[in-house]
């Protein structure tokens, strides 16, 4: 990046580099998200013994674009008695909070372009409190759903919004506490460094070996955080029509829909980064580009797990959900934290 540094100075050069990085990361993530939707429908079809969408393009490969066009051309319906400003604000909040964490995840190791002196890490922004940043944005994400439910002026929407607020507050605790174990082992909040530390044993020294209980707690609360089956009570269609987005149509509904899948994706990325070694794997030290495939491959495994669960499990009842979160998951997370802290205290990292 020397020529760029000489041209416009280091601050602007870094700005330009990060701007390009952000756009590339968003395009990649949104493409994967679009195809997750298709994959979900095909896999669900397979699980339920039917075909799923296979008409648009070869094997249904163009289905996401057809869906998008359909969303764009649908009529926008705004309820008469809704609170207009908040009604329009809510979907934007949801999608913004879903997309913002992407910039801190390391997609791969430092890449050295052969024949030049250009070296750049495959992470858009790297800073000291990356993990806290992710948790902060996640915790703000609840407003999108809660405000959507309130502003629609519909009792089903309101119930969906209330349920979602209660559910997200409850499971955020377990989510945060399950990650503290990994932080204790690594001694840093910087995601890039956490991945870097999992590089031993030919790239297989993953944190899940030391934190199995923490990972299980993280997985369960992450599913609850993203409102997926079996914790999809905010939009339980048998009870609440469509929950918080009952009154949303066309592109605003598409934004909520997309936010849900982007959230799934970012939560899977966090799981990969914290527990499964991120881009680490056998052979990464010799072929750094392999890291990207390792990383995305692990994330896609998680996405498949989500779809599999959706095809398999029934939905919780609301009181069961609350009891499970507060009386089982949270104590287990605290237990995991105590055990990890004791071990780290006596044996070091």
């Amino acid at each position: 990046m020397d020529w760029l540094n000489n041209l416009v100075g280091p601050t602007v050069a870094r700005g330009i580099f990060q701007f390009i990085g952000i756009n590339v990361a968003f395009v990649v993530v949104l493409m994967i998200v679009a195809y997750t939707v298709l994959a979900e429908r095909r896999v669900l079809g397979f699980i339920q013994g039917r075909l799923g969408p296979n008409r648009v393009g070869p094997g249904g490969i163009l289905q996401p674009f057809a869906d998008l066009l359909k969303f764009i051309f649908k009529e926008e319906i705004v309820p008469d008695k809704s609170t207009r400003f908040i009604y329009f604000l809510a979907p934007f909040l949801a999608i913004t909070c879903a997309l913002m964490p992407i910039i801190v995840y390391p997609f791969g190791p430092e890449i050295h372009i052969p024949g030049t002196r250009i070296v750049f890490p495959l992470v858009v922004a790297r800073f000291d409190v990356a993990l806290l940043y992710v948790l902060a944005i996640t915790s703000v994400g609840v407003y999108g759903i809660a405000l959507a439910g309130w502003s629609s002026n519909n009792k089903y929407s309101l119930m969906g919004g209330l349920r979602s607020a209660a559910q997200l507050i409850s499971y955020e605790l377990s989510l945060g506490l399950s990650l503290v174990g990994v932080v204790l082992l690594s001694g840093t909040l910087d995601l890039y460094e956490i991945v870097g530390q999992q590089g031993g044993w030919h790239g297989l020294r993953w944190n899940i070996i030391f934190q199995p209980l923490g990972f299980i707690i993280y997985l369960i609360s992450a599913i609850a955080e993203t409102n997926r089956v079996p914790f999809d009570l905010p939009e339980a269609e048998t009870e609440l029509v469509a929950g918080f987005h009952t009154e949303y149509s066309a592109l605003k509904f598409a934004l909520f829909f997309m936010a849900e899948y982007v959230n799934m994706f970012t939560v899977s990325m966090l799981a990969t980064t914290m527990f499964f070694g991120g881009w680490q794997g056998p052979g990464v030290s010799t072929f750094p580009l392999l890291g990207i495939f390792y990383f995305l491959g692990k994330v896609i495994c998680f996405l498949f797990l989500y779809i599999w669960l959706r095809g398999t499990l029934p939905r919780f009842r609301f009181d069961q959900l609350m009891n499970f979160g507060w009386k089982f998951l949270l104590p287990m997370a605290i237990l995991n934290l105590i055990i990890t802290a004791t071990v780290v205290f006596f044996f070091g990292t």
Partner: protein, 226 residues
């Protein structure tokens, strides 16, 4: 270059903070107030970033915007609070007093501020050029678990007390007798239940459908057919 950038960022964030704070006080719908307050918290988190305190900025968003305000919004939605009704204010002089007191307070603060500004700058490591590490996670952790260990522990006890207190408050008081819902129980005027005691006209609760029917002079089969 970077100085101008910092200046612009400060002006924007400060303007957002003051504007949102004013909007919060001016709004009569509590939910709009809450959203404005979230704006203030966001702007303050940005200001903390300009002050090289990234850890506190993140914690600000997590604790204030992500926990406290979610709780407030949840309560507003749960209680379904309508807009404040503009009823005859009992304390009519309150608004002018508030504005006056606020003006005095602000004038005092401004006075002290300019006075302090005139005083010679205290000798401090301000001039050193190397980047500060005070806002980073490691420095906060070190400070919290060495010098300030006792306040930290006391805070944890405070949190425990708040936890217990909130649970005690939110729990419905265990089954007071009049809260027990008896199927078919009705509130009847006293002259029907006890004609002898007509005088004070407080309603009396009868216990069962049968008793209510007997008092009303109804036949029980008629009652059940309904």
């Amino acid at each position: 270059m970077s100085d101008i950038l910092t200046f612009i960022v400060f002006i924007l964030l400060a303007g957002l903070a003051i504007g949102s704070a004013l909007a919060m006080v001016a709004q009569r719908n509590p939910l709009y107030s809450a959203i404005s307050l979230i704006g203030v918290f966001g702007a303050l988190a940005g200001l903390y970033l300009t002050l090289a305190a990234p850890f506190i900025a993140a914690v600000q968003i997590i604790v204030y915007a992500g926990a406290i305000m979610v709780l407030v919004v949840f309560v507003i939605m749960l209680l379904n609070v309508e807009e404040e009704v503009r009823r005859p204010v009992r304390l009519r002089y309150l608004v002018p007093t508030a504005v006056l007191l606020a003006a005095v307070l602000f004038a005092e603060a401004a006075f002290i501020l300019f006075y302090v500004n005139d005083a010679p700058a205290p000798p401090s490591p301000l001039a050193t050029a190397e980047p500060s590490t005070t806002g980073l996670t490691a420095s906060i952790g070190t400070g919290l678990f060495t010098t300030y260990l006792l306040p930290f522990e006391i805070t944890s006890i405070l949190i425990l007390m708040a936890l217990v207190g909130a649970m005690t408050l939110a729990r419905r008081t265990a089954a007071r007798p009049q809260d027990l819902v008896v199927p078919g129980a009705q509130v009847l005027p006293l002259q029907m239940v006890e004609p002898a005691r007509v005088g004070d006209d407080t309603p009396v609760r009868s216990d069962t459908t049968a008793e209510a029917a007997r008092t009303l002079g109804l036949n029980e089969q008629e009652q059940t057919r309904e």
